[in-house]
């Protein structure tokens, strides 16, 4: 391998990125050393197994990835603002839309939601941590390392450029040689391990660790949606693992699963990809539905409307999610019967989704609606998501889809569901549970500005794209001619995109502003909430969450207790020592070996891959012989933490 193939060269923007990456790293190292923070970093964060801290790290990583993916998006929008622009060349543009899609789905949306699930779900079910805290740390670190491996591609070796769907044979060695596509395969593979482990971990946590009295049908809706999501993850992710492995064999070891030669089947990749990929979109939307259910109910000061219908519709959606993947390639020529069947199953998903929309609306009916920022995002979700929903039904009609497929109509549709659904939920959930994580609320005034700028920008950006699609503009073109007439709407769209960028900056400013000036919460119940996570006495729950595990008597247990004026006060004599898991540095070290192995495979340096894999197995073996049963928190320490007067 030559140097000009190892470092990406020739573009001033890339050099700028090189410099800023080096400067940032030097800055971080300097800060940690000067303020003697290394030990703090290791003890408090790198070795933690606390679900709340892992959740926060997930969310911080996701916000960073949102920035990265957002910059990608704005670069694309800049290039498309005017016809025949020369801002990016074709190869560069292709790399950017590939990384934008991959990062936003795999490294932004999923970790953001998993982060919130991590923070909230154990608290909502009255548990002290997840079922497998150590495994939870492995999940986070493999995700993080996978994300980092994928991200360095743009300065070292070059980014993948075959689209986030990586259709074969385009993504094969013959048509896309070099490390780029390998980064995609290895980055997703390593991060995928973490996701699958999360799926297992939270399934067991929710099924086995609920507080006494919390039957399945007394679980908060966000916990329910997380449970269903975990089931989808457990069924869907192995498909991705296998598909990625097969393509890795094709690229590194010369097999012919999907290649042009040796009777490979490129359609098989498309099928496997979407057999995972469609459930994947429900993995990122169901937790969003759960969050909106919580938020709408809280700020309407009212019980969720049609609780059971909400659960059944979610289960129905989860089942359907595995029966619709063919709608991603109606144009593959599968024949009339196949297309008809998948048209109908796809449209049928609209039924339970529609039911949910009406249930949310009727949760507000006869309520007392407070327009807090999380509630604004939820209302914005209903209004915007419906547009994504109805255009989804339009796309489901295969005969019409032949005209929408591969156009901006599709691009607009999936941004309307993924942004108005998932991203709105991430923002709403982050703001809603912010006091639980940091002990203070984000400023509401600035928050409302963020909401309005973002929502208006979002519509200005994506609504015109429906018309661009109907006017025949295909997705993934890096430029277009003046005569096409697509110029004006693209310009409008770009303006909207930059509005969303500004809103993101204001959001980050709000985090800084609130960190400095926000009033600190004195109780654990910042929003007059309904579910158990709000019942902890302190704003931020202690590391063991609950000094005494609550006993649940019904849905919205905490709210009903408050209504009845029967919130229990903790007394010293009912406390018992609490069993907690020990911190461990092994997950972080194991993930670092994964990085070595992944990097070696990306560049086809097998010696390095083998060293990395030996490290991975070494840490696994080490862990198997580690006899650590955790430790007990003494009653004295609990009394001190909870500030109980004796």
């Amino acid at each position: 391998m030559k140097w000009d193939e190892f470092f990406v060269t020739g573009d001033p923007m890339i050099y700028g990125a090189d410099v800023s990456i080096v400067l940032t790293m030097v800055g971080i190292l300097f800060y940690l050393t000067k303020y003697k923070k290394w030990k703090w970093l290791w003890d408090e964060w790198l070795t933690t197994v606390d679900h709340k801290k892992l959740g926060i790290m997930y969310i911080v990583s996701a916000v960073l990835m949102l920035f990265r993916g957002g910059v990608d998006a704005l670069l694309m929008r800049t290039q498309l603002a005017v016809p025949e622009a020369k801002f990016l060349d074709s190869q560069h543009y292709n790399e950017i839309f590939t990384t934008h899609g991959t990062i936003m789905i795999i490294f932004m949306a999923m970790p953001f939601l998993i982060g919130l699930i991590n923070v909230v779900v154990p608290l909502q079910i009255g548990a002290r941590d997840v079922a497998y805290p150590y495994l939870n740390a492995v999940s986070f670190w493999t995700f993080f390392i996978g994300a980092m491996l994928f991200n360095i591609s743009f300065v070292i070796g070059g980014s993948p450029s075959a689209g986030w769907t990586s259709y074969m044979p385009l993504a094969s060695n013959e048509l896309s040689p070099g490390p780029g596509q390998n980064y995609y395969l290895l980055g997703l593979q390593i991060a995928g391990i973490g996701t699958l482990l999360t799926g297992i971990n939270f399934l067991v946590t929710i099924l086995k660790m609920r507080a006494p009295g919390m039957t399945l049908f007394r679980m908060p809706m966000f916990t329910w949606s997380s449970l269903v999501t975990m089931v989808i993850i457990i069924f869907a992710f192995p498909i991705l693992t296998v598909a990625l492995a097969l393509m890795t064999f094709d690229r590194l070891f010369g097999s012919h699963f999907f290649t042009l030669q040796g009777a490979g089947m490129d359609m098989l990749w498309a099928n496997l990809f979407w057999l995972w990929g469609h459930p994947e979109v429900y993995i990122v939307i169901l937790p969003a539905f759960g969050m909106f259910s919580e938020i709408i109910s809280t700020f309407s000061r009212k019980t969720l409307f049609g609780y059971k219908a909400m659960i059944w519709s979610m289960l129905l959606i989860a089942g359907y999610s595995f029966l619709v993947w063919v709608h991603h390639f109606f144009t593959m020529g599968s024949g009339a019967l196949v297309n008809s069947v998948f048209s109908i199953t796809t449209m049928a998903i609209g039924i339970p989704t529609g039911v949910k929309i009406f249930n949310w609306l009727f949760t507000m009916y006869r309520g007392k609606i407070q327009f807090t920022t999380p509630m604004l995002w939820s209302l914005g979700f209903i209004v915007n998501f419906v547009i994504g929903g109805v255009t989804g039904v339009m796309l489901a009609m295969a005969a019409a889809d032949y005209q929408y497929h591969n156009t901006y109509f599709l691009v607009s549709h999936f941004h309307y569901v993924l942004i108005a659904g998932t991203v709105f939920a991430c923002f709403a959930g982050l703001i809603y549970w912010y006091p639980k994580m940091f002990g203070y609320k984000l400023n509401e005034r600035i928050g409302k500005w963020v909401f309005w700028i973002f929502t208006i920008g979002f519509n200005v950006c994506f609504f015109p794209q429906y018309f661009l699609g109907l006017d025949g503009m295909p997705r993934r073109v890096y430029t277009y001619s003046e005569e096409s007439g697509w110029g004006p709407l693209n310009m409008v769209s770009t303006i909207g995109g930059f509005m969303m960028g500004i809103a993101f900056l204001v959001l980050v400013y709000n985090m800084y502003y609130s960190f400095r000036f926000a009033k600190r919460e004195l109780t654990g119940d910042a929003w007059d909430g309904r579910t158990l996570e709000w019942s902890t006495p302190s704003a931020m729950p202690p590391f063991y969450n609950f000094a005494k595990i609550p006993e649940v008597t019904g849905l919205d247990h905490f709210w009903r207790q408050k209504q009845a004026g029967k919130v229990e006060k903790l007394t010293a004599n009912e406390l018992k020592p609490i069993h907690m898991p020990s911190n461990s540095g092994v997950p972080f070290i194991m993930a670092s070996f994964f990085f070595v192995a992944g990097f070696g495979m990306v560049f086809d340096w097998m010696w390095m891959a083998i060293v990395g894999l030996i490290g991975v197995f070494g840490t696994l073996i080490y862990r198997s012989f580690e006899y650590d049963d955790g430790y007990y928190v003494s009653v004295e320490e609990i009394i001190e933490t909870e500030k109980i007067s004796k």
Binding site: K2, D4, E5, G10, S90, Q91, G158, S161, Y167, P169, E174, L175, S176, G178, L260, A263, T303, F305, A309, F329, M332, G333, A336, N339, S340, M347, I351, G354, V355, F358, L361, F362, M364, Y365, R366, G367, K368, I369, F371, V383, V386, T391, V393, M394, A399, A400, D401, Y402, Q403, H405, N406, T407, N459, G469, L470, G472, P474, R476, Y478, T479
Partner: protein, 324 residues
């Protein structure tokens, strides 16, 4: 009131823009043949349904959010109102009815688009093989025994049966004003019926991402009268140069070319729907190797490609035109 309704303003405005702008400006909604016509009808049918759904949801949202906002003298608060069998049954049933109403015409259209258009069922369709090679289209007229690159001539009012395949990446053959697309895949053949009812030139393209040259992976379709088409075909057969294997192998290299015309076809020696490896073999024969993007070699090759394209354009402007 206005303050609370603000969220709905942008959508109202945009809906208005959509309704006023007139759908016929957009090419998918301005079809020039029965296939596109059928798809347009289906699209418009669904749009009316969707606008109705949006209207219902927005009206309900506006009403509830306005009426039940937290304020002084708030009335009607009922914190334990947790469901209603009647209401929930209603909104299970209505979407089911809508899905049925949309499914029936959809399935009908899916089946009808598999064959030639109803109105010209009695005519024998013109068969054209369309083969995608990064980043050009090779069109073969087996009955006329001629071949074109990057442009198509078709007779109007007669169904055309496209037999689609690809020499390398998966492409999608799409002429929006004539009708929807279908994939072209190496080692496979898919079929697509289209028909033009009006004379004119329509833009066609590959709409499925195929790498660096994807944006210009386009072609023109010229629809003409039957007589004109027959004349063009026989002239081409008589006057255009023959396609040699060497020349065809060069077409297998990734890159763009100008329009070309030949009086023989590549089907004489290869059918890409049966042989997925031909293009890669040809590249090997010519000593071509795909370069790692960003490498110096890739940059040099890109430059070379651009120069060659320029040369082609120059030779064309010197009156060396093809039989169009």
């Amino acid at each position: 009131m206005m303050r609370r309704l603000k969220p709905f303003l942008p959508f109202g405005l945009m809906m208005a823009v959509f309704m006023l702008s007139g759908c016929s400006d957009m090419i998918v909604l301005d079809p020039k043949g029965p296939v596109g016509e059928e798809q347009k009808d289906l699209i418009m049918y669904s749009i009316w349904f969707m606008l109705f759904i949006l209207l219902v949801v927005y009206a309900l949202t506006a009403f509830i959010v306005y009426k039940y906002r937290d304020r002084k003298n708030h009335k009607g608060y009922d914190p334990d109102n947790e469901g209603s069998h009647l209401l929930e049954t209603i909104w299970w049933i209505i979407p089911i009815i809508i899905v049925i109403a949309l499914s029936i015409p959809t399935v009908k259209s899916i089946y009808s688009l598999e064959g030639p258009p109803e109105e010209s069922k009695d005519q024998k369709p013109l068969v054209i093989h369309a083969t995608s090679v990064n980043w050009k289209w090779v069109f073969t007229y087996p009955e006329q025994d001629i071949e074109t690159v990057n442009y198509l001539h078709i007779p109007e009012d007669r169904p055309v049966l496209f037999k689609l395949t690809s020499a390398d990446s998966m492409a999608s053959f799409w002429v929006p004003q004539l009708g929807g697309q279908k994939y072209a895949m190496a080692g496979m053949e898919t079929e697509l019926y289209l028909q033009a009812d009006e004379q004119g030139t329509y833009e066609g393209r590959n709409s499925n991402f195929t790498g660096e040259g994807f944006t210009d992976h386009t072609f023109d379709v010229m629809a003409m009268s039957d007589a004109e088409f027959e004349k063009w075909a026989s002239e081409t057969k008589a006057e255009a140069p023959e396609l040699t294997k060497g020349q065809y192998d060069k077409l297998m290299l990734p890159g763009h070319v100008k329009e070309m015309t030949f009086s023989s076809t590549h089907l004489d020696w290869v059918d890409h729907s049966k042989n997925a490896e031909y293009a890669l073999d040809a590249r090997e024969r010519l000593g071509y190797e795909e370069k790692i993007p960003h490498s110096r070699a890739a940059k040099e090759e890109k430059k070379k490609r651009e120069e060659e394209m320029k040369k082609q354009e120059e030779s064309e402007s010197h009156g060396d035109s093809h039989a169009h």
